[in-house]
């Protein structure tokens, strides 16, 4: 029984639903030949350098044990899961082997936010927003502005004002 851990770096705009999906998929692949010890969400961090044009990222640490028989296949599955299936969400991941007898205590860096706060996008609300946007199609509905006339009018106004001021004097 070997102990492994995967540190996942995800996009900062990740939603709770997506995290749950990753968790459940990882869960189901690992259960075929092992047990999960822990799935910890670290929260939002500022990255040391921009990754895929994001300055922030959300980390998650998965720790699990695997039986010696099927471990190679399961690790391959996990890798393809994180690299291919969740390609848009997961930016980086790294797998490392843990000491089977060592302690599971570790120190983690200070985070900016704990749990990612964004709630899932409702399908309904998405539809609503699209409708609203289509109604106010700004290019179509606004009347064409006659800019030359406006300019001339503005000038007239200015002249009138100056006349008034002179008269006032």
């Amino acid at each position: 029984m070997r102990r492994y851990e995967i540190l996942i770096l995800a996009v900062p705009t990740i939603t709770q639903d997506e995290i749950k999906k990753i968790e459940s998929d990882v869960d189901s692949t690992i259960k075929k030949g092992g047990n999960i010890i822990s799935f910890e969400k670290w929260g939002k961090y500022r990255l040391a350098y921009p990754v895929k044009k994001n300055s922030y990222g959300v980390y998650a640490l998965v720790r699990f044990t695997l039986d010696a028989e099927h471990d190679a296949a399961i690790l391959k599955d996990l890798d393809s899961l994180l690299a291919v299936k969740f390609e848009a969400i997961v930016m980086r991941h790294i797998l490392s082997v843990l000491d089977p007898n060592g302690s599971l205590v570790y120190v983690r860096p200070q985070s900016l936010e704990e749990e990612p706060e964004r709630k899932s996008d409702d399908e309904l609300s998405k539809g609503k927003i699209e409708k609203i946007l289509s109604k106010t199609d700004f290019k179509k509905n606004t009347p064409k502005r006659d800019t030359t006339r406006e300019f001339a009018e503005g000038r007239q106004m200015q002249n009138e004002e100056s006349e008034v001021v002179e008269k006032g004097k």
């Binding site: 540190l7 770096l9 990255l47 040391a48 350098y49 990754v51 990222g57 640490l61 980086r92 790294i94 490392s96 060592g102 302690s103 570790y106 120190v107 983690r108 860096p109």
Partner: protein, 95 residues
């Protein structure tokens, strides 16, 4: 006038090292015989690893940090892992 004898290369290097010694007393490895510190060498332990980087983000050589070769290798491995996961920078040059 004595002739200047050209020493062999190895002897020259030894002399050079002897000249360097007075700058700092013999540095000891902080990890030897210290199992608690050894467990702290981990790519997630960013605050601890930062002590072994220069201000530019480069890994300190063993002759400056005083680490023995085994622990220098472990440390460098973990620093490089942390760098790939954007926990530590590769470099901090500005502009």
């Amino acid at each position: 006038m004595t002739k200047k004898i050209k020493l062999k290369i190895s002897a020259r290097l030894l002399k050079k090292k002897l000249r360097r010694q007075p700058f700092g007393a013999k540095k000891r490895c902080r990890f030897k015989n210290n199992p608690e510190l050894i467990t702290q060498i981990d790519y997630k332990n960013v605050d601890f690893l930062r002590k072994f980087l220069t201000e530019r983000g480069k890994i300190l050589p063993a002759r400056i940090s005083g680490n023995s070769s085994r622990f220098q290798r472990m440390l460098a491995r973990e620093i490089r892992k942390a760098r790939t996961m954007a926990l530590l920078p590769y470099t901090t040059i500005q502009g």
